[in-house]
């Protein structure tokens, strides 16, 4: 055993020197063309719930056929993902391609961990929707390719709504709240499942109020949480949350809200269209009762603001398989597979020309009106740090839901937010 340890140490020592001397290897093989692809394995990180299994299967088949290389999808959990990506990008053998949330992309672009995809933008990205491609541009360079976009809708249980005697979906916020009230009174179901920290929903409400989370003070960004518009958004959130028994100090992923909904004892929840698939996976019989509608706004002519969430695909700077990775992006983002993704998941594709794939997809049709009035979190590199656990905005939400005045709750966390915004990258 002692010898084993000794050898482990010696090996470790040797590895250090090998790694130190071999640092240039990457550049040599980076330029290697198609001839070297055969026999390689490309690793792609996608987030839990992003890529439908059918899509992954089809893309894998197409990729392996075309390149002769192998493709390995590794599904990542959201929990602790930022640290995982940061450390992974620092390694010699990072995942070659990775999905990065649009709000996180500027931060990662600024770290130098993502490869410049300018040439890819030129070859396949001419008609990428400008507004959705924006988050992947940093300092004038394209650091990621837009993959898909999505916004939240109301996913509801038709059976429960019918039981409560409601036959049409609400067109205004007040109608929606009234319907939830009716469900609460007439059925034994929980009208809506809305945990206290579904903060992307709050972000949508803030967008709807015309507010913003940060403001510029001199050349620095500081918290804008004390803005009355944010408070107004939070008050709306509170009204909805009053109809839910969900914990006030948890977000929608702990536990997965779709699996709670799948039990058939919840009237509705606010989520991404694809979360329906998670619910169906948990309970097959829920499928026939599923319905979707746009989150209604204050008036019938304008839906509620939504957070325009989205994901980009980026290539790790340290990846030794740059050309292969780009080949993967060309296949995955081709009209055929980008269209298939839109069709299967009901997400907004990266080109307007592909939106026809959304026809007949109930979730996507419910999402479309919202997308028109959607917005994002601030697209600045400083922002990502604010979303790190423990997210101060989530603390703010829990505090307000527990009865604290929004202004006071905002004051409690603004110091933390400002500190994080000021954090050097």
């Amino acid at each position: 055993m002692k010898r084993k340890l000794a050898s482990a140490i010696v090996i470790a020592g040797m590895m250090v020197s090998v790694a130190a001397c071999g640092g240039n290897d990457g550049n040599d093989s980076k330029d290697a063309g198609p001839s070297s692809w055969k026999g390689q394995t490309l690793t792609v990180w996608t987030m839990d719930g992003s890529a439908p299994p059918q899509w992954s299967k089809d893309v894998q088949a197409a990729f392996e056929k075309k390149t002769g290389a192998k493709l390995k999808f590794e599904i990542q959990k959201w929990d602790g993902i930022q640290q995982k990506i940061t450390t992974a990008l620092s390694e010699d053998t990072p995942p070659d391609v990775l999905e990065v949330g649009n709000t996180q992309t500027p931060a990662y672009a600024s770290t130098g961990g993502l490869a410049d995809l300018g040439d890819l933008k030129q070859s396949i990205g001419a008609d990428w929707t400008a507004s959705v491609s924006k988050s992947s541009v940093y300092d004038g360079k394209q650091y990621a390719a837009p993959w898909y976009f999505a916004n939240r809708v109301v996913i509801y249980n038709k059976k429960i709504w019918a039981k409560a005697g409601i036959n049409s979906t609400p067109k205004t916020r007040d109608e929606f709240l009234k319907d939830l009230d009716t469900i609460g009174k007439k059925t034994d179901a929980e009208p809506i499942y809305l945990p206290g920290q579904n903060w992307y929903f709050l972000d949508g409400l803030i967008v709807g109020q015309g507010g913003d989370l940060v403001k510029k003070q001199g050349d620095k960004y500081v918290s804008n949480l004390a803005d009355p518009k944010v408070a107004a958004a939070m008050e709306i959130y509170k009204k909805y949350a009053a109809y839910s028994k969900a914990p006030k100090d948890k977000d929608e992923a702990t536990p997965q809200q779709a699996t709670v909904f799948a039990k058939g004892k919840t009237g509705a929840f606010i989520g991404m269209g694809w979360e329906a698939a998670t619910a169906i996976q948990a309970n097959k019989s829920i499928e026939k009762d599923l319905g979707y509608f746009t989150i209604p706004g204050a008036t019938a002519d304008k839906p509620e603001g939504v957070f325009l969430g989205g994901s980009n695909l980026a290539v790790a700077q340290n990846s030794k398989k740059q050309s292969l990775a780009k080949e993967f992006l060309k296949i995955a983002l081709s009209d055929q597979y980008e269209g298939e993704l839109a069709k299967l998941s009901g997400v907004i594709p990266n080109k307007t020309s592909l939106e026809s794939n959304l026809k007949g997809n109930a979730a996507a049709e419910a999402a479309a009106p919202g997308a028109a009035v959607g917005g994002t979190t601030p697209l600045i590199p400083e922002w990502a740090a604010v979303e790190n656990t423990p997210n101060p905005i989530k603390s703010y939400m829990t505090a307000v839901l527990n009865g604290k005045a929004p202004a006071a709750a905002a004051k409690d966390v603004e110091g933390e937010i400002n500190q994080r915004l000021a954090q050097q990258n």
């Binding site: 002692k2 340890l5 000794a6 140490i9 930022q82 640290q83 940061t86 450390t87 990008l89 620092s90 931060a107 990662y108 600024s110 770290t111 130098g112 961990g113 028994k245 914990p247 006030k248 100090d249 700077q317 740090a385 790190n388 656990t389 423990p390 603390s395 829990t398 505090a399 527990n402 409690d412 994080r420 954090q423 050097q424 990258n425």
Partner: protein
């Protein structure tokens, strides 16, 4: 005779205060081939693997950690393998911030509360074990061993379930006992209630070690001591204070020392229970270092906090360490 076993009992006794043991004759050192020299080298050779391991696997990370604490190390520097020295900036930031000292105070109180409860209850259970009949003792030992063996992460999950807001058995019992406001109580909603659950968990897990050890120690107290005490007319309490307690004292010291370290360093229990929440109010020093360093990706600051954490722990345990230093001196 074993010097060790006696040394602990008679620490400070002048009779054993001999100073250094006579070294092997100096001359033998020179003749390196002689058996005496080999004998002199033996202890060092035996210690070598442990020392090398400690140096490589603990010393190196410690030094590395110390170096990181003087660097500006954020995702960009980590990803690009950059080294940006920034002097005492991290320490300055931590020490002048309002959070650090609050966390230190909280950690010390947290450690004190836990250790007092653990030592008190553990000792009482240990003494109880000695009084029990054979069957009952075995039963209680099984209970202790089960609680002791329960892996931390599993135990934390179980406690979350016991104290769950909805359908948690603790809330049900409290409600049935007449405390109706507890029926839907959210234990993770407040600082004190979260700490209560964490303390209960840690105390539950730590008592067995103290109790079983203490029971084991009491079995080694020579019966004659008690006989002598009762001949002197000592009652139960007096024989406890004059025989049991002095005999157990070194054991109690060393166990307290271990418990202080373990509780102060407790990480998975605190972190997994509520991630230091609500509102970062249950962050103890290790959690604080982790959240600032790894969570916030402010790795240099995290390293500085962890270095300060070690310092605080050293200060807390310095009394015992001094005692050990003195005692080991006496033994030789």
């Amino acid at each position: 005779m074993s010097v060790q076993t006696e040394g602990t009992d008679t620490a400070g006794g002048p009779a054993v205060r001999k100073g250094r043991a006579p070294a092997p004759p100096r001359g033998a050192d020179r003749a390196s081939r002689s058996p005496a020299a080999r004998l002199a080298a033996a202890p060092y050779l035996l210690l070598l693997p442990a020392l090398v391991a400690t140096l490589v696997l603990l010393g190196w990370p410690l030094v590395k950690n110390g170096m990181l604490s003087f660097q500006n190390l954020n995702p960009r520097q980590l990803i690009q393998h950059l080294t940006e020295w920034n002097g005492f900036h991290n320490y300055q930031q931590v020490l002048t911030g309002s959070d650090f000292w609050k966390v230190v105070e909280r950690s010390v109180l947290f450690t004190a509360a836990n250790v007092v409860l653990i030592m008190l209850i553990g000792t009482l259970i240990g003494l109880l074990l000695a009084r029990l009949g054979k069957k009952m003792r075995l039963t209680l030992l099984v209970g202790l061993v089960l609680a002791w063996a329960m892996p931390v992460i599993a135990a934390t999950t179980v406690y979350q379930w016991l104290f769950a807001q909805r359908f948690g058995v603790v809330n049900w019992v409290l409600d049935k006992l007449g405390w109706h406001s507890m029926a839907d109580y959210n234990w993770m909603g407040g600082q004190f209630s979260t700490f209560s659950v964490i303390v209960l968990l840690i105390v539950w897990q730590s008592i067995p070690f103290v109790a079983i050890n203490l029971y084991a120690a009491t079995t080694t107290i020579p019966k004659e001591l008690y006989e002598a005490a009762s001949l002197d007319g000592a009652g139960a309490w007096q024989s406890f204070t004059s025989v049991t307690l002095p005999f157990l004292r070194p054991f109690l010291y060393s166990t307290t020392f271990l418990e202080v370290i373990w509780v102060f360093k407790a990480f998975p229990q605190v972190f997994a229970m509520n991630e230091g929440g609500p509102d970062r109010l249950t962050e103890t020093l290790p959690i604080y270092a982790y959240v600032e360093g790894v969570g916030n990706q402010h790795f240099g600051v995290g390293a500085a906090i962890s270095f300060l954490t070690i310092l605080v722990l050293l200060v807390i345990t310095s009394y015992y360490l001094r005692m050990v230093l003195k005692q080991e001196e006496d033994e030789l």
